[in-house]
Subunit: 278 residues, 2 copies
């Protein structure tokens, strides 16, 4: 294991049960997803309040700072301390963050389902990103991953109202994070990758959510060259995907998908076409 | 018609068609939703960049300022001018907005699927909101509304990747707005209500998205006492709904629903229960 900051481990319960009345008049105990404000302080300065399920608040905080390009490496972070008594997380950095004021002056409210705030220029640094060209994923691994996601026991299945993201190698899910906002989920994965020393270059990123520009940018920042969603995409997500050369696969369910960009990384077996001909 | 500011009418095309390759190797022309940055300037000061489908950018801009409680009435707004050449909207106010700096200093990145930024305290002013107690919706109107939404020809049906919101009176859809972020959609409806002089007190708000705290707060701010979603809800959405006394109905599809709060406004016919018994 490499460097790890001092961390609390303060996850919240994922679901709560409330009473509802259904169309027949019956009282139905219904699990619903948690949603909590979590105000992020960096070296005692208030930065932002995230609304989160609270499943992985420490990784979320680290990943938020990573994906906002406010910290350049895990070693800059000394401690991440979540305190739900005051709905706050205190991040202590080594020597403070440079230019925090300037970097956070510009706000972009994104189409992301979730945190939806990007400080600074959304497209900044995108031009400097180079994704690994040699990475390949074969169709059977893709279908295996879709099946693994389907079998994954999730809060979504129990309570709905959350988005899930997975980081996978081939068909294997390495981690699966859910949150009420899907951008929290992707940020938590970014934080987890730093904490566990995981390299994105040979991985696949799966999301239940739509492939908007912000989602594509975050995957590219994490160096993950293959992006898969069961949902659709937006024009700007498509444009950014082409620009950074990411492999983008949408509407991926069971053994179906639509491949939009980066076709060279998907090794097609032709099995589906062959099966249909047979 | 009441007062109207000077407005452009600069909607963007809702969908674009790109090529994809499906699992059989076939090339498939696929419509995808637009997504455009729109930077909002108030009296020449840059406030925020919204990522939007661009279907109703003028109403979105007005509704954003309304729902952020940065303007108190439509009369404060002199002009709303959208210019896609520079991806900007210029809002001119009558005499400037008071305390704009102070009001926008605090950021909350919400769980909303969409713009996801709330300036100031999320819960501020919630305690002063009183919703109309006398409003009623009967079950058949609810089912009629769900059917009307189902029949509505939408970008979602064509391209996916968008959320839809409707303002309805009984079973009748008064307006239906889609956007890549559902909070843009609700903001655009708030702007439209001001422009058309529509009162929320006897209306129902329908959303395809989840009922998070922000969605409940925005409906309450628009004085709409009945909130319906085909999706689920979060614990904080539930808590805020109870606090403001809104009627919240989730998982509403066809002739099914779960009623969570504000049961007094839903007039149940018992028709579904009777049909099942028969």
């Amino acid at each position: 294991m490499g460097y790890r900051p001092v961390l609390t481990r303060n996850a919240r319960p994922a679901t709560y049960t409330v009473d509802a009345i259904d169309e027949t008049g019956a009282r139905v105990a219904t699990p619903i997803a948690g949603e909590h404000p979590l105000t992020l302080y960096v070296d005692k300065s208030e930065l932002v309040t995230l609304m989160t399920l609270g499943a992985a608040p420490e990784a979320l905080s680290i990943g938020f700072l990573r994906n906002q390009r406010l910290v350049a490496s895990l070693e800059q972070i000394v401690a991440v301390q979540v305190d739900w008594e005051v709905n706050a997380v205190a991040v202590t950095t080594r020597g403070g963050l440079e230019d925090l004021e300037a970097k956070t002056a510009k706000r972009t409210a994104t189409t992301g389902c979730g945190q939806g705030t990007v400080f600074g220029d959304l497209m900044a640094d995108i031009e400097s990103i180079r994704l690994e060209d040699a990475t390949r994923i074969d169709e059977e691994s893709l279908f295996g991953l879709l099946n693994a996601v389907r079998l994954h026991e999730s809060i979504y299945k129990q309570a709905g109202a959350v988005h899930g993201c997975a980081l996978a190698k081939g068909a294997e899910i390495l981690t699966f994070v859910e949150d009420v906002g899907r951008h929290n989920a992707v940020d938590a994965i970014a934080g987890w990758m730093w904490l566990e020393g995981i390299d994105g270059r040979d991985k696949t990123f799966y999301t239940t959510g739509r492939l908007t520009s912000e989602m594509v940018i975050k995957a590219a920042q994490m160096q993950v060259p293959v992006l898969v969603s069961r949902s659709g995409l937006t024009k700007m997500g498509y444009d950014v995907a082409r620009q950074v050369g990411i492999t983008m696969i949408g509407r991926a369910v069971n053994r179906r998908y639509l491949l939009f960009t980066g076709a060279e990384r998907l090794v097609r077996s032709g099995a589906v076409a062959a099966a249909r001909r047979a």
